[in-house]
Subunit: 338 residues, 2 copies
Amino acid sequence: MASIKDVAAQAGVSVATVSRVLNSHPSVSPDARGRVLAAVEVLGYRPNAVARSLRTDQTRTLGLVISDVLNPYFTALARSVEEEARGRGYSVIIGNADERPEQQDHHVRTLLDRRIDGLLLSPADGDSPLLTDVARSGTPMVFVDRWVPGLDVPVVRADGHRAVQDLVAHLHALGHRRLAIIAGPAATTTGNERVEAFRDAMRAHGLALPDAYIGQGDFQADSGRRVTEQFLALPEPPEIVFAADNLMALGALDAVRARGLRVPEDIGIAAFDDIPWFVHTAPPITAVAQPTGDLGRAAVRALIDIVEGRAPQSVALPARLVVRSSCGEDTATPRSTA
Amino acid sequence: MASIKDVAAQAGVSVATVSRVLNSHPSVSPDARGRVLAAVEVLGYRPNAVARSLRTDQTRTLGLVISDVLNPYFTALARSVEEEARGRGYSVIIGNADERPEQQDHHVRTLLDRRIDGLLLSPADGDSPLLTDVARSGTPMVFVDRWVPGLDVPVVRADGHRAVQDLVAHLHALGHRRLAIIAGPAATTTGNERVEAFRDAMRAHGLALPDAYIGQGDFQADSGRRVTEQFLALPEPPEIVFAADNLMALGALDAVRARGLRVPEDIGIAAFDDIPWFVHTAPPITAVAQPTGDLGRAAVRALIDIVEGRAPQSVALPARLVVRSSCGEDTATPRSTA
DNA sequence: ATCAACCGTGTAATCGATTCCACGCCCCGA
DNA sequence: TCGGGGCGTGGAATCGATTACACGGTTGAT
């Protein structure tokens, strides 16, 4: 592969001049520029990003560590992150933690070894001293979706309070009173936050949320299945199961089916995270939709702000309720007042 | 961030010795080794992968360019690729082409600029002279799932012939005769191959496959919707629509629903690619399942073979039919012969 | 006419690693 | 006693870029 020296030789100039042409430095004569450009063309020269990074101490690359690639929410996030970054001249390297702290740490370390300019992270459950070190070391860093409390790192996330309140209001209006929730891992902030929002909304509607109606999940389908089975085995099972993410909702759906029960007639299901597939399940699932694309874009902007020395901003974007039929139809209560 | 010089100073040895310790070169005294290791510990030193790559001319990184991150088939593939690569000491950088040749080329170029050791690619529709150049230039490269005919590049893919034959047999047994297919883009090999397999199977069962029953899709949900609408508008619409990938099947499902028709009573749907969600759709979808994990792993092995100078092998792994209820129940024909 | 400013260019240092080569030392055999 | 052969070590070249600095040649102001 041709190097800058080959180009310089071919064009009859020094490597410095070649470099200047390539970086559109002003003081190069049109003649030299032309010869260099021609040489580049002839040789099919492409600058070696590795060498360039070593010298300039910047890679124009962002790292993104997500909790689970198989979760459509995170792939949607990854896509918008990559898009926004590309638009701003950065590349993105994605690491998949699979909800395992060791694997998360592996990726964080590898990314740091590659001297990425900044790190976008949705921390997995379980603590990671590494993360604390990295945050303190001054590496540009932004949390997306989830975060680690106590670290001075900007967070870009969805605020589900309002949407969860809308959800509970919707369920209440449909006549449901016994609502249960499948929570995320206690150590993830989103896990807690969603439970809190739900608890608040329940209280506001004068509904009780007994401990038996709070199941511990881990954001994976299996845990949704397991918790739902426990709910169904209760002397007084809930009328609605609200899963804190889309995968657990899927597990819940499975468990209900396996019992030979129907949704929503026998039991209703709702989910945090809206994904394209929820339109096609039987029945279509009522969900709290996060503005995933906006989150990804905002996160990249915040991160690049840090990288380029500007003041970053934490962002919380509102989520919104998308009503479908998995908790019962509400066509019986028309809203029009004509 | 500490460099090898800092470690050398701290340990009171030269950088050469530090390097030798780090690369477990034999001729280093236990004493020196101990001091270096201690210094590494104290400084929290991590070797700069950029510098190392520049010197050694290898990055221990593989590039993976997939056609669409939002397609669960490709995320599953990406996951297994990353896993296998990690197990062998390589990292993976993923690029998402979004089925757009220019974006694919952008990623290929960026990956090459970063001097990845090898490239795993599932080429998008449309031709790309760049790909031909890269293949000819001797860059280690392997195609997964799709490929570009005429290039001397190993291909790792699923062979769907048998499974598609099983599918047609299954449909035939259920009494269906008018079967239609939503093809992928003509220029993608998988697109053609799946149509050919289908055509062969139809012929084997003495069934006609009129042109009107072959729709042109592009592997995206929208095209599935559009083509299905055309099928439904036919004087004699098909009894079954077979989509050449999972996204188009979803679009087909949408189109059928939008018409107020039921699946499978009014029209059946089947898909190439099996994904976890197909269990949860209404109704669960009959599909041809690719051994995605095995494909990813085999692809990485083939690529690393090239990178490390061994002879690579093209691989075709058999796909298999997974019968669900989207084409009609076949519980009426028990297989047991007890 | 003189000098400063400026322009285009090249030389060389530099980034952080790896690795070839040489050097000093010790041990062993002749 | 002397020489050859490891062994452990350090010096320095090298990878491919960027960039500070120096240099020669114009140009314009005084």
